[in-house]
């Protein structure tokens, strides 16, 4: 029977071509759309985790409330013991201390006086320890544009943009002017040994990357850091796991005596709780669901319409089949079975076409840097699609379902045909 129906579909293309093309177009668009949204979400999560939030972040309560400030006033004391404790209790995660700081980079002339200066967004990470996870997390090796990685405490990297803007030379010494955690002015002469470009506009505009030990000394942050970030070993964020970890840490911290200033108490927060990020991730989830719902709805209407047109065109054929004694139910089932075949074939072809386009977008991406000139959001300049297991089913299932739904609604007209009037209809 299936073979019989299949032959009918292949030989009578007017019966199958339009619904097939509709399903292919709809399914491929859904696959591309879904993969694109997943890719954007992934880029956003990756950039935010690497540069700001980690998969979990331990920070002073006051800093967590202020979100993105780079004030060294709020710091975690006894950082060595804190990081050691986290590594001991949660060895599967990579834990790394960081200091975020703001300041100015002042470049001297031959006489040692200010030649040019610019604001910098400083990030102090563990660059010098052997076995530090930071070079891998930040992908520093790949981000180097000129020069080399720092090998000594007073050596730093600056963003390639800043390097060009200040007219710096590799090996040149510039002075960092910042504020200690106690409010004094802090200055330090730092040697620029390399430039970096991370492909994240918000970072590449004016980043200064230094080893955490030198910045601790300069900002009077002896054994203190701004935050400790935790990363899952496979670099993939898992919200339930991160949330459970944060809840356990915060419960344990609550049972210990609180510091004199409650704003300095250490709290752990999963990546998803970052105020800016949570909204975007929620929006992404809604967008994905809306995309699929709209696809199923629109496709069902289009295919219903196609079914109705097919029924009109096949009005005579169905009438003859009923006249020779075929049951209405059987006719209806064959129409639905035909649509199922079209749906499966169209969904497979559409998924393959969608995957091909998604793969191209995953490999090449789309450069959105011109739109991010003044953006503060941590997102990659090149947005890419990302093929996930979901990409395989996200178009396929609705593709088949909408075809079935369309045929089921339009095919219901068969039951309204009156057998007694068939001969009269044929005479006409």
């Amino acid at each position: 029977m299936i073979r019989f129906l299949l032959k009918g579909l292949v030989r009578d293309r007017s019966r199958s071509l339009f619904p097939l093309l509709t399903v292919i177009a709809g399914v491929s668009l859904t696959v591309v759309g879904y993969s694109w949204v997943r890719g954007t979400e992934s880029e956003l999560l990756h950039a935010s985790a690497a540069f700001s939030t980690g998969h979990v972040k331990v920070a002073p309560r006051g800093a967590a409330a202020e979100s993105d400030t780079a004030s060294s006033e709020l710091a975690l004391d006894h950082a060595g013991a804190l990081v050691g404790g986290l590594r001991r209790r949660h060895p599967s995660l990579g834990w790394t201390p960081r200091i975020r700081f703001g300041g100015l980079l002042d470049v001297p002339d031959e006489a040692g006086e200010t030649k040019v200066q610019a604001p910098v967004a400083g990030l102090a990470v563990d660059l010098l320890s052997s076995g530090s996870p930071e070079p891998r997390i930040l992908n520093v090796g790949r981000a180097i544009v000129k020069g080399r990685l720092p090998a000594m405490a007073d050596e730093v990297l600056v963003s390639d943009q800043l390097f060009g803007r200040l007219g710096l030379r590799l090996g040149e010494t510039a002075t960092l002017i910042s504020t200690t955690r106690f409010g004094s002015v802090a200055t330090a002469n730092l040697r620029i040994v390399g430039t970096v470009r991370f492909g994240v506009s918000a970072v590449d505009r004016g980043a200064l990357l230094a080893d955490v030990t030198v910045i601790q000394r300069v900002l009077d942050m002896d054994d203190a850091v701004s935050e400790v970030l935790g990363f899952f070993p496979d670099q993939i964020y898992r919200d339930p796991e991160a949330r459970a970890l944060a809840e356990a840490f915060n419960a344990a911290a609550a049972s210990r005596p609180a510091p004199a200033d409650p704003d300095l108490a250490a709290v752990m927060r999963p990546l998803r709780d970052d105020p800016g990020l949570a909204t975007i991730l929620d929006l992404t989830a809604v967008l994905t669901r809306a995309l699929i719902a709209v696809f199923v709805f629109v496709m069902s209407i289009v295919l219903w319409n196609a079914g109705l047109m097919g029924s009109l065109r096949r009005y005579g054929e169905i009438g003859i089949r009923l006249a020779v004694g075929e049951q209405k139910g059987h006719v209806y089932r064959t129409l639905v079975a035909e649509s199922l075949m079209i749906g499966v074939a169209g969904s497979i072809a559409g998924t393959l076409a969608g995957l091909a386009v998604s793969y191209y977008l995953q490999e090449h991406g789309v450069n959105i840097a011109p739109f991010l000139k003044n953006a503060s959001m941590l997102i990659s300049d090149v947005l890419r699609a990302r093929i996930t297991p979901g990409s395989l089913v996200v178009g396929f299932v609705p593709g088949v379902l909408s075809t079935l739904l369309g045929a089921s609604i339009s095919g219901a007209g068969i039951y309204r045909r009156q057998t007694a009037r068939l001969m009269k209809e044929f005479e006409a």
Partner: protein
């Protein structure tokens, strides 16, 4: 005897002026009280931070209205830092990095030694009449002293504070309280004089609390430990060479 009406008409504005001087006239008296002679001061700045209070001590040599040299004496972290102001130029020497940094552009908005004052505040012309026009907004008592309330509006754009509201002691010609506003009307800074003292013929604010409204913390208390008017200051003090000495 009845006074002729033309005499009343002529004298009334003069009589009214005698009772309520113009805002600009009051401001000129405030400027005159500050004076433009040479001064040597020893001052203390108490900065209330998050759980930490820092006391910054400095000695300043001031020549006229636009030249000054300041050396920071304490705390140890800031000792040896020096600041030279010559007209509209400002340099700071940091012994920690052995660098003389010219304060301009982005740095003007930065805090001076972690206080609630910015370098822009230091660079401002102390003669308020040169920067603002004033009108009397009312009369109020501040800390039991009768004051004129003046509303100051910048004479030209580009001044750090577009407008100010000042409470001027009627008898002493000294500002007891001040609110400074941005162009959009947002309150940026407040000052509150806690103590004034008569030194020679002038009234001098001895203790003032500066508060940057946009910053957390309790503000910065400025205490004038000593002041010497008409001081003799050697010429070489106001040179860049002094910064590294």
């Amino acid at each position: 005897m009845r006074c002729p009406p033309w005499i009343v008409a002529f004298a009334l504005p003069w009589l009214a002026g005698a009772q309520a001087p113009s805002g600009d006239a009051i401001l000129a008296r405030v400027d005159a009280n500050i004076g433009s002679d040479n001064k040597v001061t020893l001052a203390r700045m108490v900065v209330e931070g998050r759980g930490v209070t820092r006391t910054v001590e400095s000695r300043s040599w001031v020549r006229g209205m636009s030249e000054s040299f300041t050396e920071y004496l304490a705390p140890p972290r800031d000792r040896g830092t020096k600041m030279l102001k010559l007209g509209d130029q400002l340099w700071t020497y940091f012994p920690e990095s052995d660098r003389t940094i010219r304060i301009s552009g982005h740095m003007l908005r930065q805090s001076v030694m972690g206080s609630d004052l910015s370098y822009e505040d230091l660079m401002e012309d102390p003669r308020l009449t040169a920067l603002y026009t004033a009108r009397i907004a009312g009369e109020e008592a501040h800390r039991d002293r009768p004051c004129w309330v003046l509303e100051l509006t910048a004479r030209k754009p580009g001044i750090a504070y577009q407008s100010r509201r000042m409470w001027i002691d009627k008898a002493r010609d000294v500002a007891l309280r001040e609110d400074r506003y941005a162009k959009g009307g947002k309150l940026l800074k407040t000052t509150d004089v806690l103590e004034i003292e008569r030194i020679g013929t002038r009234w001098v604010a001895k203790t003032v609390v500066f508060k940057d409204v946009l910053k957390s913390g309790q503000g910065t208390r400025f205490e004038l430990v000593s002041i010497e008017f008409d001081a003799t200051i050697p010429e070489h003090v106001f040179s860049k060479a002094m910064l590294r000495k």
